[in-house]
Every structure is written in C-alpha cells, then in structure tokens.
C-alpha cells in the first residue's frame, strides 16, 4: 500500500478541516478516492460518480492527468503526489 500526498483544492477543503494536503494510503486512484472519503466523508461524491472522474474535476498524478494514464486504475507508489483540481472548461 503506497503512502500518497493528496493536494486538496480550496473549494473542497471544507471536507478536510481546511487542510490543503492530506496523506492517504492506497494502491490505485480508485482506492485513494474510497480511502479519502472514509477519512473525509462526502468528498468523493464531489470528485467522481459511477462513471468515473467528473468532467468538472481533474486528478493529476505528478504532472499527468490520470485520464491519459489508466484513469481510476492508475497505480500509485510511495511518495506520489496526487492533485485534485477543479476544471477550467466550458463552452456553448
């Protein structure tokens, strides 16, 4: 089980008692979201739904969006940094 730093964006810090970073143990991004939600109930629903990561949110592992990796099955290693970042997107 990898120990991972998760960066929390300002709008979601209400779930983490104002903390901008938390440490979570997980093997894959999928587990990370479950374990993050166990520690900070309600946060997962803002990030993902049953189809995967919401269009309005991004999860970066290091410098890469997990959508270009293995999405929720992306594997994690010790000392990885995962950044949860709201989307900057839109259109007609």
């Amino acid at each position: 089980m990898a120990q991972v730093t998760v960066r929390i964006p300002p709008p979601l810090r209400t779930f983490t008692d104002g903390k901008d970073e938390v440490t979570i143990e997980a093997e894959k991004i999928r587990d990370l979201l479950d374990n993050l939600d166990a520690a900070h109930p309600g946060i997962k629903e803002r990030i993902a739904d049953d189809k995967g990561v919401r269009r309005s949110v991004n999860i970066f592992l290091g410098e890469e969006d997990i959508r270009v990796l293995d999405a929720l099955d992306t594997e994690l290693r010790d000392r990885d940094v995962v950044s949860i970042i709201p989307a900057i997107a839109g259109g007609l």
Binding site: D65, S83, I88, G90, G91, L92
Partner: protein, 167 residues
C-alpha cells in the same frame, strides 16, 4: 471569498491592449474556442492589464474520452488545470493575480452557458477566484464581449460591467 479578491464581484476595467489581445486570439482560433486568463496589479484590484493565452485542449480530451467529453474545440474549451493552478499561485506571489478566465464562443452570443456554470460553480461555491469574460466570434469577426460574475451562494452567474480604458 470576495473580501481579498474584489474582482470576483465585477465592475472591472480592462485596458484596450488587453482586450485587443483577447479578441485577436479569439479570431485566430475561430472556429475553435480560444481561452486564457487576464491578470492585473493586486494594488488596483479592478484593473485588468495583461492577457495570457492558453492552449485549448478540448480536442485532445474528446479523442481520449468522447463519452465524458462529447464536444470538440468548436463548442468547448478546456485547458491544463495543473499549469493553471501554478499560474494562479505565481500571480498571487508576484502581486499580479489572475482575475479573469476568458474564452470565446463560436457563431453565437457571449452568454454564460449552462456548461460554463456547471464547471465554475458547485454547491453554491465559486470554483476559481475569478470573474469571466466571454467573447463571441461570428463569421470570423468579434461581435460582442461580456463580463460574467458568480452570484454568491448559488450556481448561477450574472452579467457585470466591463469598461475598456486607455492603457
């Protein structure tokens, strides 16, 4: 949130040069949507004087995951949010915060769309500490530009005034 970031409440002034840079980029990208930021000095919170263009990655995401991202760059914009978050941090540290996210619409008005609102507000919270400029390009020419701001406590946005001034 507006306490230390008054620009999210609107009534902004933008220099002619900064507005011209947005419009030239919108025309260059047509019929795709253009996107980027506008920054300004922290000590003059309602002034916008620097346009920063970003790459629209909508087509990349559409090719990668067409179910989640059903639209192409003609009707959608998306930029690299990790790079964006660093720009926001650098802007804060340097005294030149990013105050506006801008994008263009193709062959329609400069309204704030449902998709824009879905992205930029959730549970009544504004997701990025910004106001929003939308420029419409019709038949390759800029038709209008509008400033939109978040209505606090809701997922809705409303228009505000944007004055174009001599630099």
């Amino acid at each position: 949130m507006s306490g230390d970031k008054p620009w999210i409440s609107g009534n902004l002034r933008i220099t002619k040069e900064a507005m011209k840079a947005i419009e030239e980029e919108a025309i260059r990208c047509y019929p795709s949507e253009a996107c980027g930021f506008v920054a300004g000095p922290a000590q003059d919170p309602l002034l916008l004087d620097e346009t920063i263009h970003e790459v629209n990655e909508a087509d990349k995401y559409h090719a990668l995951d067409p179910e989640t991202f059903p639209r192409t760059s003609r009707t959608y914009f998306k930029l690299n949010e990790l790079r964006a978050s660093r720009r926001f941090e650098e802007g804060e540290k340097s005294g030149r915060p990013i105050k506006v996210i801008y994008h263009s619409h193709t062959d329609t008005t400069a309204h704030f769309s449902e998709e824009d609102a879905y992205t930029f507000a959730s549970d009544g919270q504004l997701m990025w500490p910004c106001a929003f400029i939308v420029v419409s390009v019709v038949d390759g020419k800029v038709e209008e530009r509008r400033l939109h701001i978040h209505r606090p406590g809701t997922n809705e946005f409303e228009e505000s005034t944007l004055e174009i001034i001599d630099g």
